[in-house]
Amino acid sequence: MILVWLILIPFVGGLLCWQADQWGDRAPRWIALATMLFVLIISLVLWVTGDFALPGEVTRHWLLEWRTSWIPRFGIEIHLAMDGLSLILVALTGFLGALAVLCSWHEIDHRVGFFHLNLLFILGGVVGVFLALDLFLFFLFWEMMLVPMYFLIALWGHSGSAGQTRIRAATRFFIYTQASGLLMLVAILSLVFVHYSNTGELSFSYDTLLDTDVPEALAPWLMLGFFVAFAVKLPVVPFHGWLPDAHAQAPTAGSVDLAGILLKTAAYGILRFALPLFPEESQAFAPVAMTLGLVGIIYGAVLACGQQDIKRLIAYTSISHMGFVLIALYSGSELAIQGAIILMVAHAFSSAGLFILSGQLYERIHTRDMRIMGGLWGRIPVLPGFTLCFVAASLGMPATANFVGEFMVLFGTFPNAPVVVVIASVGLVLAAIYSLLLMQRVHYGPEYRQGALRGPDAREYGMMLVLLVLTVMVGLYPQPILDITAPIAGPAAELFQQAGAELASRAGEVN
């Protein structure tokens, strides 16, 4: 039942915020903050009290499970379950949700209640995605994240350069995600009907569909249906067109959520659905996926170097970082998959930090254009130091979580695909280039304008400090996360290797 509450709390909180608008601007903010902290605390309690021992028996072992019938006629259930992976991601959602509320404390000044309704509805949808096991329910939450995000960008966003309006950015985000979501829906329905024709039973249940025997001609297409939906969200080049606009034009809270959590739903989807449902097809598809990952790493980094808008720069770096995650997911190595999970958490911290910092910068100098920044190190206390810390995290400095994630990915992938790792390592140099370019353009050099600007207040300082401490803590002792995700990463890698062996033996028969 606690799983239901985890999803319901943000939705209820959102409605409350909406109504609390009439008591002034402060009420919705506090309610939203309390709501997200509540989600965070529940997940932390579950983390501390949960038993994450490796499942001894063959059947899948969930930490918590809740199911009830919903539309029995079509075999649709409300089936929620939580394991280590979803727990971490839900906790991350609660944490970044609270940060998103905090960082828009002064930024959002109109329709405050409705803003927080949308923000909390997104987060509720995300929690749903991380918990839903019924494929129909999963798709429902997947689409549910979309609409409030659209409003967030369209109503409270910034207008970008070169005639890019926030409406256009929002529309583009919506169309990309919606179109790819439809492909996933088709794939889900086909899978269900294949299962129906095999067994005569209609079911959207994850456990049931896991063992479905899909005809060999059809299976790659269904796998692709899932993959494309996740690839758009991750994003994988060439499906990344929505991301820079959406990130750059969204309000800070939107960017934090987009980069911090929404991108992770895609990686989660691949790990939870695309790989286990179609292990052999995924194994066959791995070289393509890894190549796409490499393209993302290099292409995202090159584009990041050419940006003038600070938020667009950070947005493109997300593409580069998610390339590492994609490579790891298709590497079939436990070490790499664990690394991908760490990297997801690390990227959530570091990109949230950078987006919040650029939001704070915007509140002071009212621009995101790096051509008219420069020399800010002398004008603002403290913030440049924090920027350097998060920039260092973003370029994978050891002792930050990003380093642990990236290097676990590379160590894990190297035995299976050394060439991929060699090319991906070029991304480490490019990461240094774009990260330090940001520092150079914003904080070094002569001052573009004169005059001291105010330093961070307690709220701003606190957010940065918490993010930084977490980044370093995970960077020096990632074991708490690794321990609870081991039961997911191990079997996923094993499944992948079995599929590989099976493919190989089948190829042997043909020959």
Partner: protein, 627 residues
């Protein structure tokens, strides 16, 4: 006891960093200096304590397991042996003197807190680098050192050039770091461990001498060493790194960070012995760097750039020693070099501050009477740099390197080493004469600041570090070196004894020949030299050496410009433009169809008739139509 001392020795500088970083500007300049200098001073004491408590052999201290997934179990663990202790003493000892001098050098600068926070963090990273018992922890220190050097080179943030110099240093060394990282991946895949002791034990069992894997692993590690130690071709960042305050140059770009590559290769000596070809390559790269840098140092006018190139040249000597398998000689020279190069840089710093940031030799001169302490520092440090026989520390370590090269039958490396010694003599004399002798400006209108320098007077923060380092740069420094023979495999010179005397005579001859040649050139043939350097082939050589053989221009053309071109072309996101085609198509169709809805009955009727005709025609023409 031992564990306590070692832990303190690296945690104290970290504590200093944290105190300074989170003071939020509440600490004044004095308090910041006290914290910054004090933490490293205490770390030096802790290191001395650790040395006394050390009972020989290697002691391990595992703090916790960093990451544990399957076989991948790197720890936060320290290994203390003779090599680590020698490195720790250099880092904290020389580091402390440099920190102390910086308190004088940085007086009146803004951002003292930031300066000391970075300097302390640097000492911490460097300590982890030499203490880490596994390659991943070593890599943490390795990268940390790079980050600190970024922060300190770009310390004067107002000048964009300083920022770009910091940028260049980080990116160029990062290229080397990626090679090292790939080496780590390979070593872990092949040997299943990153623990240094274990991998050195496993490698000879698993790998044949000279096998491809061993060669590749050694080559990748060498790539990392080249970046940090500023050897050809990853050396271009070092001269630019002089943009930072001079104590930074002393600490990072002379005494410690650039020696990290030497330490790494010495530490992984077993790995390199399995790859004799790569080991020889180490020596060859060292020899090439040694010569290129020595020539470049001849044609610099900035006193710090002369010292920067001399650093690169001296590290070339260390690489030569590594290349012939004389690891002990390399570390010996690393230690003496740390003493005399720190001395030279701090003396240069004394000159620079006294002359209000004037550091161009052409505008300086005649300072020897007015700045006696700095002059003394330059004389003693310069003597060690040119390896003045018997009295200087540099003589003993450089002689050892040349002797090992000779004993290993590497005549080529030996000749380069001797030639380098002659060149070292020439550029050192030129540096000292240009800065301290003659008239300010040497006949040209020189700097007013050089006419009226303000000598440093503080006995604690100005005189003491210089005097202690000067003492260490003499034969005393060479005596203090404990020798690490037992840690390393036997050097080639252990077996052979014949010829050592001959070589010493040769080495002395080379050093003295360089000095005499320089004295003759710069004292008696000054005008002739100036004329030769100003025209024809002399001028061309001057330009070539002044720009250090044009590596920067080459890399600009081959790497930087194409990269910038790619970035510029892709700024509009070409892939995204392709993905926009469906949207454009939809819009074009929309525009076309909108036009057809013009509301005129005439055109609707026309289109209708046209359509009907086409259908009828189609039916008539198609086979079996109208039937």
């Amino acid at each position: 006891m031992m564990a306590m001392a070692v832990t303190l020795s690296f945690l104290l500088p970290l504590a200093g960093t944290l105190i300074l970083a989170f003071s939020g500007g509440r600490l004044g300049a004095l308090a910041s200096s006290v914290v910054g200098v004090g933490s490293v001073g205490l770390a030096a004491l802790a290191t001395a304590w650790a040395m006394m408590a050390h009972s020989g052999g290697s002691e391990g201290i595992t703090l916790w397991t960093w990451i544990a997934v399957g076989d991948f179990q790197p720890t936060i663990g320290l290994a203390v042996d003779g090599l680590a202790l020698v490195m720790m003493s250099v880092i904290t000892g020389v580091g402390f003197l440099i920190h102390l001098f910086a308190a004088w050098y940085m007086t009146g600068e803004e951002g003292i807190t930031r300066f000391y926070a970075w300097m302390n963090l640097f000492v911490f990273s460097m300590m982890l680098l030499v203490l880490g018992d596994n390659l991943l922890l070593l890599f943490l220190g390795w990268e940390g050192v790079g980050l600190c050097s970024y922060g300190l080179i770009g310390y004067y943030y107002q000048g964009s050039a300083n920022g770009w110099a910091a940028f260049k240093a980080f990116v160029v060394t990062r290229i080397g770091d990626v090679f090292l990282a790939l080496g780590l991946f390979l070593i872990f895949m092949e040997l299943g461990t990153l623990d240094i002791q274990q991998l050195l034990a496993l490698a000879p069992q698993q790998w044949q001498e000279g096998s491809t894997t061993a060669n590749l692993a050694a080559l990748l590690v060498l790539g990392g060493a080249l970046g940090k130690s500023a050897q050809v071709p990853l050396h271009t960042w070092l001269p630019d790194a002089m943009a930072g305050p001079t104590p930074v140059s002393a600490l990072i770009h002379a005494a410690t960070m650039v020696t990290a590559g030497v330490y790494l290769i010495a530490r992984l000596n077993g790995l390199f012995l399995l790859a004799p070809d790569v080991l020889l390559l180490v020596g060859v790269i060292g020899a090439v760097s040694l010569l290129l840098a020595a020539f470049a140092a001849l044609a610099q006018t900035d006193i710090k750039r002369v010292l920067a190139y001399s650093t690169m040249s001296q590290i070339g000597y260390m690489f030569v020693a590594l290349g012939v398998g004389a690891f002990d000689a390399a570390i010996f020279h690393l230690v003496t070099h740390a003493f005399f190069k720190a001395l030279l840089f701090l003396s240069a710093g004394a000159v620079i501050i006294s002359c209000h940031h004037e550091q161009d030799m052409r505008r300086l001169g005649g300072l020897w009477r007015k700045l006696p302490v700095a002059y003394g520092g330059f004389l003693v440090g310069g003597a060690a740099l040119v390896a003045l026989p018997l009295v200087s520390a540099g003589f003993f370590s450089k002689d050892e390197i040349l002797w090992q090269a000779m004993a290993a039958d590497q005549t080529g490396l030996l000749i380069v080493g001797l030639l380098g010694a002659v060149l070292t003599g020439i550029y050192t004399v030129r540096l000292i004469l240009g800065t301290f002798h003659g008239e300010p400006g040497h006949g040209e209108p020189g700097s007013d600041h050089a006419r009226h320098p303000e000598p440093g007077t503080n006995p604690l923060t100005h005189h003491l570090p210089l005097i202690v380092l000067a003492a260490l740069s003499t034969f005393i420094g060479a005596w203090l070196y404990p020798g690490l023979g037992g840690l390393f495999p036997d050097a080639p010179g252990e077996a052979a004894e014949t010829g050592h005397t001959l070589l010493q005579v040769l080495a002395m001859g080379a050093a003295i020949a360089g000095l005499l040649l320089a004295a003759w050139l710069y004292l008696w043939r000054r005008d002739w030299l100036a004329k030769k350097a100003g025209e024809g082939i002399g001028a061309r050589l001057w330009t070539l050496w002044h720009h250090a053989w044009g590596f920067d221009a080459l890399f600009d053309r081959v790497l930087v410009l194409p990269w910038q071109w790619v970035v510029k072309v892709l700024r509009v996101d070409l892939v995204n433009l392709v993905m926009n085609l469906p949207a454009l198509l939809a819009r074009a169709l929309n525009a076309g169809l909108v036009k057809s809805q013009n509301g005129r009955v005439r055109s609707y009727a026309l289109v209708m008739v046209l359509g009907a005709t086409i259908i009828l025609l189609a039916l008539a023409v198609l086979p079996g139509g109208l039937a």
